[in-house]
């Protein structure tokens, strides 16, 4: 059984996916192990390659907002609509904050790239904004412990 590397290293593949407008979804869970899924935007990879900071849709009072506390486990998947190239990061929440201006700028730019790519699979531009719940965003810093290939096919689930 392969062991998770101590620092998985978020390589150029995943950074490229994010830059090209990959759809990002985030899963957390509550104390009863009930998962909660939401969308994420504007993922920035730490220079060390072992962490990310992203904006997560988590309205006040929502289960995701309740689940997002320091030390909580989190899964972040990114998938490019036009190719289905996908990867998943698993890690631990380090901090949850109100988004700073640069967080929101990154999220806006990411959404614009996502909308452009989603056009390729028939999602019209006028509808793409509805995927983006900007007022509900919180900034979340994550230490990434594991990376997995999620592209559909025989390699799905393999550790990267």
């Amino acid at each position: 059984v392969a062991q998770a590397p101590e620092h998985p290293g978020i390589g150029p593949d995943i950074a490229g996916l994010l830059a090209r407008g990959a759809a990002v979804v985030v899963a957390t869970r509550d104390e009863r192990l009930r998962p909660e899924v939401t969308r994420g935007w504007g993922v920035a990879v730490a220079e060390s390659g072992d962490g990310v900071r992203l904006c997560v849709e988590a309205a006040l009072g929502s289960p995701t907002r309740e689940n997002l506390v320091a030390g909580a486990p989190i899964a972040v998947s990114c998938s490019l609509p036009s190719t289905y190239r996908s990867a998943q990061m698993k890690g631990i929440v380090v901090a949850v904050e109100e988004p700073a201006a640069e967080d929101l700028e990154r999220a806006d730019a990411h959404h614009a790239a996502f909308a452009a790519d989603a056009l390729n699979v028939g999602i019209p531009s006028r509808l793409a904004p509805r995927f983006y719940d900007r007022p509900s965003l919180v900034a979340v810093s994550v230490t990434v412990a594991d990376l997995f290939d999620q592209t559909p096919g025989p390699t799905a689930g393999a550790r990267l």
Partner: protein
């Protein structure tokens, strides 16, 4: 106050698989996992079925912890709904599994992928604990089209099809009715051949070119799989299927079994097709044909349409089959060549070869070519050759269905001969050309051949397996 759960019946548009659905599970040790599901399908008011194809981690988590959640998206409005799920079981047979498997097989076949790559390992049945709106709630969202009055439309569809006095008119009324009543603007009707291994185009609506005589093998592509499985196949998003195919191919690191271009008459198709459906026409367990529908709107056809399409297909199958049967029971006197049916043009060996059209018949596969252009093959090819040969011999223009049935050289089977559908395909194939040959239905069981250009007939003998069948035929050329 807790928001009430939204009935699944009101979000059926989300449960078609047009937009991938983020799906979250959690392992027993508390590690969440999130991936995308290809298909989240409505089962009943309390349950949904999720396809189990590639993702082992989700499957492992569900065994340990049945709690799950999926985010589904309405492809028309992009409204999102969050379904809280409780995993019940995985099914590897039964109607839900077979329906989903049939759809995946059809997509695999249509996109040229090996079925094993799209192999459905099972369907996970989940109880829906709660369904709520998710994401941004925008009051300005365009509403979905109000439900059409389906019963009224079906009633009108049946009435129209019933007014068609023959096979050809019934198919025309059916395709026009689909457009007028259900907004289905692109449709092709294919009939099954006697052996049940090939479908041939009979009628089409919404295309610039004719489908008449185009052939599709049973078992191949969306049309062929619908025929083989006797199952309505809907593909909500072909764009997604193409993307999925590319992703799996890349993952597989090998090339898929792409099909070469088909010979014969190509089936017409929309350039920017986004969604398709194939409806088998089955009556008394026998395959009569397939109704193929296309749309340039993603999500136009999906599981929510399947009941309606089954009813339409069942009715159409019964009507078309009755027209075929009716001709068996009819008694028609073979029409002798009449004085009025003088040759419309000179026959074999025409004096003016410049204006003549050369019609070539190949015994090997009963194919007919006009001035080198493929016309038709198989049974309709044989029928056309018989008519032209007799016209060349004595100028006949009047024929009957009965004599075609009794002609041993044509070799129509005694039972289901599909003669009506064959003649409709042949007639429409000739209509869409400038060969100067036309076939008209002039009454119940009667045909008129019209030849507007001099003919030069050439029969190419075969030395192959079909030689014996042609041993006694004279070469009229």
């Amino acid at each position: 106050v807790t928001e009430p759960s939204i009935p699944l019946e009101s979000i059926l548009g989300c449960l078609q698989g047009v937009i991938p659905s983020p799906f979250a599970t959690c392992s027993a040790d508390g590690t969440p996992n999130v991936t995308y599901m290809s298909i989240v399908q409505y089962v009943d008011s309390e349950r949904v079925a999720l396809s189990r194809q590639f993702f082992r981690k989700s499957a492992m988590n569900l065994e340990e912890n049945p709690n799950a959640q999926v985010l589904v998206v309405d492809p028309d409005t992009t409204e999102q709904y969050r379904l809280e799920l409780h995993y019940l079981r995985t099914e590897t047979d039964g109607p839900v599994f077979e329906t989903m498997k049939g759809n995946l097989e059809a997509i695999a076949s249509q996109t040229g992928m090996g079925a094993d790559l799209f192999r459905l390992r099972g369907v996970d049945i989940h109880r829906v604990e709660c369904c709520r709106r998710a994401g941004r709630v925008d009051p300005g969202v365009p509403a979905r089209d109000p439900q059409r009055d389906v019963l009224r439309c079906l009633d009108e569809f049946q009435r129209r099809v019933a007014t068609g006095g023959d096979y050809g008119e019934a198919t025309r009324q059916a395709l026009q009715g689909l457009e007028d009543l259900f907004g289905i603007r692109h449709a092709i009707l294919l009939a099954a051949d006697e052996d049940g291994d090939t479908l041939f185009g009979v009628a089409a609506n919404g295309y610039p070119t004719s489908s008449a005589g185009a052939e599709v093998a049973v078992g191949v592509g969306v049309i062929g799989v619908a025929a083989a499985r006797r199952q309505v196949i809907t593909v909500p998003s072909l764009a997604r299927s193409r993307v999925m195919r590319a992703a799996v191919q890349e993952s597989e690191e090998r090339r898929g079994g792409e099909r070469g271009p088909s010979r014969g008459i190509p089936l017409p198709g929309l350039d920017d097709v986004q969604s398709v459906a194939a409806v088998p026409l089955v009556t008394h367990g026998a395959l009569v044909g397939v109704l193929f529908l296309e749309s340039d709107v993603p999500g136009r056809f999906g599981p929510h349409d399947e009941r309606l399409l089954r009813v339409i297909g069942g009715h159409l199958a019964a009507v078309l089959s009755a027209f075929e049967r009716d001709r068996h029971e009819s008694v028609e006197e073979p029409a002798a060549p009449t004085a009025s049916s003088r040759p419309a043009a000179a026959v074999a060996g025409a004096a003016d070869p410049e204006a003549a059209i050369e019609v070539t018949y190949y015994q090997a596969d009963d194919s007919v070519f006009a001035d080198g252009e493929y016309v038709i093959k198989g049974v309709p090819g044989r029928i056309l050759w018989k008519l032209l040969r007799e016209h060349a011999a004595d100028g006949r223009t009047a024929f009957t269905n009965r004599e075609l049935r009794l002609d041993e050289w044509l070799g129509l089977p005694a039972g289901n001969d599909n003669l009506e559908s064959r003649l409709v395909a042949l007639r429409r194939r000739l209509e869409g050309s400038d060969w100067g040959i036309a076939l008209q239905r002039v009454g119940r069981g009667r045909l008129a051949l019209e030849v507007r250009r001099p003919l030069r007939l050439v029969e190419v003998p075969t030395r192959g397996p079909m030689r014996a069948a042609h041993a006694d035929t004279a070469d009229p050329a």
